[in-house]
Symmetry: C2
Subunit: 753 residues, 2 copies
């Protein structure tokens, strides 16, 4: 064994390269897209500002870690004004004293010294800095101000910053360990990016036990500069990275994250675990990172939209990353299960269907072939139970048949112990069938009896699981991921992009008047301008006028308050349904007027609106939008009525939404089976509802001043879709409108077709 | 190391004990309850019928296994007509040739020879037989007949049979291995009972890797005789067993299972994984075991009712068994999370709330004490983030405070790596607080850095998990289990048991007439007899009579078809709502009459029923019952209306239901928040709805001839609950009525108070 101290000492020769050597190594070609972060992962020279010999200090750990693998070709310069040498290396008082070019600076000095040091780094031509130091936004206003100062000082320098408040960065492939963790990660092909330093080190320690390797290990800290978008783009182009795994506490720059994820997700799986799924947990996350955590349902929509796979359990993160990287994406949800034991096959089927997967219905050709291959007692269906005395060869053939069947999207091979066949030979026969363009996963049940087979499968890129239900659960993740990616590729945004109609004239007028609340009549006019069917609704300013309108459009009618001030009409008794006669219309007008004036003053009453009472059979749904602080406008489609609201049957999507996505929104509702017709009710006109969603999306992207819209209820019926009521509210100032249009533009730019 | 062959040889002296010795060992005292199975787990003498020397045969494996640990005190007699000796032991041609008493016979001969051998065993005084042989119900009618013959032959002999089609039984505590598995399980305190031999051996192999021990390992096969109920009762009394883990494919004798589980669950956790959760999977399970698999939702209700914890994943079975056996049951769902890293605490909070658990709201005393103990930057809430530089002592104190707080039901201690404190010292400080009557679980995140701490925690009975979200998930299982057990103890069935009112006179009359379908008027009369409020509903046999009734009860009214033949009135246009005038009542009568006569013939029309139109604000719910083939009558409570039906908001319970269970049923509905009042609607009268459920349960248990009832809709309003429509159908023959009354009687017998 080499003496580690000696190793460090012999490295001295590396500390002082010739200036030419160093300059050559750093290079100065034109920047490649996404290459700006290269300096963090493949630096030629590294300065440790705050390098130390004090045992147990982060400065000492960093110095030791960086010097340990110096053979990988970078130069290390300890910076510390109070020492001549650190760990046997000449130390410099300041980074500007180093006579050689420096790529990367690691900063472990007290928070308040960091802005000054950042300026010095910029002066020294440093291209990247990792700020390990804590004491920034997580401690409050003062820390946040320090961050602001750093941001100001790097502006225009081209220098990038990771952190602050992080444990650093590792590149296990080159051996770079620019962290203060006590151990180095194993090399592999997963890039892991974590917003929690604690989780980073826990995963690191755990990964050594599990013999799990990484192409990069990044602790991002507060993400003052380098964020998700930058890193996803970088690892998307990194040849050593096959999948990207993220532990996220806050989304940060949402549009940048989405754009980068959409670009990369089709090439490499991006897997995220997001802390703060639940409201109370989000509160805890917010107090922890000092960052605002967005609504979780919106995040779900955004992840799905960007092709990102969200995982619920930390323990699942890495084996799912591996599976997605090694196996082809399933084209659908239909799994065939080939097993030599009945019970385990049923357990797998349970787990599959519980998670929304489907048992493939085998084609008659496959059934015939299996009938020839297998003994008469086989299960004659899926799960394909080939029985305990099946040979290895039979097992392999059954799997090949299942894979070849066009009715299957993937195959799970379950092997029980105590059968005639030998696990390793079984494995060899399973592996023969791999590579048919469909995922193939396996469960070799048991422990040491099957470990040889497990290892063999691992070498052949076929994931294995100790229990068949776990394998089926992973298949569910696979098809969900596949569906997200397929949506990325398929959504037809052309309608969205092409129809660059004029903006709404009504909205223009309301904005010119400086108002933010539209009346029902105005709201419906706006919808009409964008092609959304509405019930004809006419304003009336006297009871006589109301009766006249009612007689023209035909009884029974609905009379509702018209008010520029009051948006929730029901709350003031402002809605009268199903009025059959002129007399009742007259009474309704007077009742509404007196109630509103009594409750809210005379200026709240601008008359009434009159519309015919729609009695068509159909389902009431809600289509709406509100503005998310991180993602801009978010579209909602949900079941209508109080009960539906309590049962929470709704789904979100980020505009722009084309016809494919609109259709998916409708299909995601739990009430979807009802919309297709139940108990003698007719199916609704799905095309027309989808079309309303697409038009609604167009309205949102073209009119960024909209803060909230509700089409509630929107009647979805067999003969079409029609908005019965509508409500539009505008942003009070245009400053709040910055992100949504940017976001939409980015999505349009990256959306295919 | 001892030569195993030599060991077997030296056992020869055990083969021929004196007849007296053997008789003494077998004993013949009065049978202890549940002790009848003792012979399978602690036999004094074992015969292997079908013992063999043929390598790889089950007979050879069994012989080897049974001889391997003969030192534990039993005698082994190989039975094989074609060999003089087997493995060096004298072999007998038939069991009746053995001159010594035999407790247990293991049978591994072809299926068709088994009935004859069973008779011989009975003749030889054998008390228990394990039939390993396959070829019974799983191969079809012929095999089923063979089983019938075995059942007939053991009747009256007192002999019990495990199997057929199983791998056998192990008692790792004594070293008995009466299976043909190649390995023996480690001794421990979990009794594992599996209906799948494949899963049995897989778990066995896996358990050796995980160093997991068992008090018993039972493969039950087809459960021709010994079933769940027998085994649960036996292990309930077995001092070596601390928890019972079951892999189930079919429930078998449902009342026996429930009664045994209810008796044992309060002393020892019973954990079940049931294959066939989903309909398609149930089909696969049925084809596999040849047994009928009941509706999964009914099983869920039955498990909950019996205090059994159902688990979804095989991988969870055993560590949850361990946790439940070692830690006290939480009294509620409120968990405090103490952590020295923010992110992992949030992940745990997510998992907790996602599974229905709650973050405890710390009391002001605890907050004050934590403020004194911790630095100013602590999280000031739950999760209690004590920050990374907390000492071991501080950590221990924070945990003690959280445990002592009356607002918490349990504590999760999370330890991140890379903190100031040492894992092992942390562990010691955590363990100090254990034993306060609340569950304490831990997550030491990481791998080898924390393995010492993990082992220490294991020795102190505190379960640890590599990831904090897994720990929180397990806490969710703990409180669910606690709630099930609390219900077992708390449900007040006295009302049920005391009110032994007369049976329904109306039902009596209908049964005497030989009818099975009650009219709406009759159905409502039955409900009234049991105290359930119904809308007054009066039969009318002419339009004049209908008008007269309507005028008496007041307009508007509802007119519906009265028919002894047609139960679904809407399908034939037989329901007219909200009729405001006598004229409309007259028209409705005529319309219904002509429509029904045209569609179903004159004898389908028995007149109409007239009731007032109920316009009260409230929620329509459904209360109903149908008869499950395995569990008898099952009660359903669900949200009403088409949409609610599609959104599947309903819950099941087995009668008898007392007030506590009735209340829980209501609270389990997803619409429960709506029932408590939303958006200005008043809360419903929960007491009155609960009372309807209790009365409904009484009706079901006292009138076992009822096949189906629907109260649909039942209006649950602020001022009471009232059935607007009702439908009762009776069983066509009394033969189908056997199990429910038995079941109810058993539940009553075992239900406390």
């Amino acid at each position: 064994m080499t003496d580690p101290m000696k190793q460090i000492t012999t490295m001295d020769s590396h500390v002082a390269p010739t200036a030419d050597q160093a300059r050559g190594a750093t290079g100065s070609g034109s920047p490649v897209k996404g290459a700006s972060l290269e300096v963090f992962f493949r630096p030629q020279s590294v300065a440790i500002i705050g390098a130390s010999e004090r045992t147990g200090s982060p400065g000492e750990a960093l110095t030791t870690n960086l010097l340990a693998k110096i053979s990988s070709g970078y130069h290390v310069y300890p910076i510390n004004p109070s020492h001549k040498t650190i760990a046997g290396h000449a130390a410099y008082a300041r980074i500007t004293d180093v006579p050689y070019p420096i790529d990367l600076a690691i900063i472990v000095t007290p928070a308040k010294t960091v802005p000054g040091i950042i300026s010095e780094c910029a002066e020294a031509g440093v291209r990247g800095a990792i700020v390990i130091s804590a004491g920034f936004r997580e401690v409050g206003v003062e820390g946040k101000e320090l961050e602001g100062e750093i941001t100001a000082r790097i502006r225009g320098t081209g220098m990038r910053v990771i952190g602050p408040n992080c444990i650093g960065v590792m590149n296990p492939v080159t051996g770079l360990n620019a962290t203060f963790a006590r151990k180095a990660a194993l090399p592999g092909n997963v890039a892991f990016i974590s917003q929690s330093g604690a989780l980073c080190t826990a995963i690191l320690d755990w990964s050594l036990n599990e013999v799990l390797g990484f192409s990069a290990f990044v602790s991002v800290g507060s993400m003052l500069d380098v964020g998700w978008g930058d890193l996803i783009e970088y690892f998307g182009n990194d040849p050593n990275t096959e999948s990207i795994v993220i532990y996220m506490e806050s989304i940060g720059d949402a549009p940048k994250f989405l754009a980068a994820a959409r670009n990369v997700a089709q090439r490499k799986p991006i897997i995220v675990i997001k802390a703060g799924r639940t409201a109370a947990a989000a509160k805890a996350a917010a107090s922890h990172t000092g960052a605002m955590t967005g609504s979780d349902a919106v995040l779900d929509a955004a992840f799905r939209r960007a092709g990102v796979l969200r995982i619920d359990w930390v323990g699942d993160l890495f084996h799912i990353a591996e599976v997605l990287a090694k196996q082809p994406r399933p084209k659908g949800r239909r799994l065939a299960i080939v097993t030599n034991a009945g019970g385990p096959g049923v357990l797998a089927a349970d787990a599959l269907m519980e998670g929304g997967g489907e048992l493939a219905q085998l084609s008659s050709e496959t059934m015939a072939a299996l009938n020839t291959l297998l003994p008469a007692e086989w299960s004659h269906g899926n799960p394909i139970d080939i029985l305990a005395d099946a040979t290895e060869e039979t097992y392999g053939k059954a799997i090949a048949l299942a894979l070849k069947d066009p009715a299957t999207d993937g195959v799970l091979a379950i092997t029980a112990p105590l059968v005639a066949a030998k696990p390793l030979t079984m494995a060899a026969n399973i592996a023969k069938s791999a590579g048919l363009g469909k995922p193939l996963i396996a469960s070799f049940m048991g422990g040491s009896d099957v470990s040889e087979a497990d290892i063999f499968m691992g070498h052949n890129g076929i994931p294995t699981f100790a229990f068949p239900d776990d394998a089926a659960r992973v298949f569910n993740y696979m098809w969900k991921f596949g569906e997200n990616i397929a949506l990325l590729e398929a959504d037809d945004l052309t309608k969205q992009a092409d129809v660059l109609s004029e903006n709404s004239i009504v909205l223009q007028k309301v904005r010119e008047e400086g108002r933010t609340v539209l009346t029902e009549v105005e709201s419906k006019q706006v919808l009409s301008e964008y092609g959304i069917p509405v019930v004809e609704t006419i304003a009336a300013h006297s009871s006589a006028e109301a009766v006249e309108v009612a007689e023209r459009i035909g009884f029974p009618v609905v009379v509702k308050l018209l008010s520029k001030r009051i948006t929730h009409k029901s709350d003031v008794g402002g809605v009268r349904l199903d009025l059959p006669t002129a007399a009742e219309v007259r009474t309704a007008f007077e009742d509404i007027r007196s109630a509103v004036i009594a409750k809210a003053g005379a200026d709240a009453f601008d008359g009434v609106s009159v519309q015919r009472m729609v009695r068509r059979e159909g389902f009431e749904v809600i289509v709406g939008s509100s503005s998310d602080p991180q993602f801009g406008p978010v579209m909602l489609l949900g079941a209508g009525g109080i009960l539906a609201e309590v049962l929470k049957d709704s789904t979100l999507e980020l505009p722009p939404v084309g016809t494919v996505l609109a259709r998916r929104m409708i299909e995601r509702l739990r009430m979807w089976p009802a919309l297709q017709g139940v108990r003698g009710t007719k199916p609704i006109d799905v095309e027309s509802l989808a079309s309303v969603l697409v038009d609604f999306s167009r309205l949102l992207t073209r009119e960024p001043w909209i803060s909230e819209i509700d089409l509630n209820p929107l009647l979805a019926a067999a003969d079409g879709t029609i908005a019965l009521d509508a409500r539009i509210v505008l942003h009070t100032s245009l400053e709040t409108v910055a992100s949504p249009s940017l976001l939409s533009a980015k999505l349009l730019a990256t959306g295919s077709t």
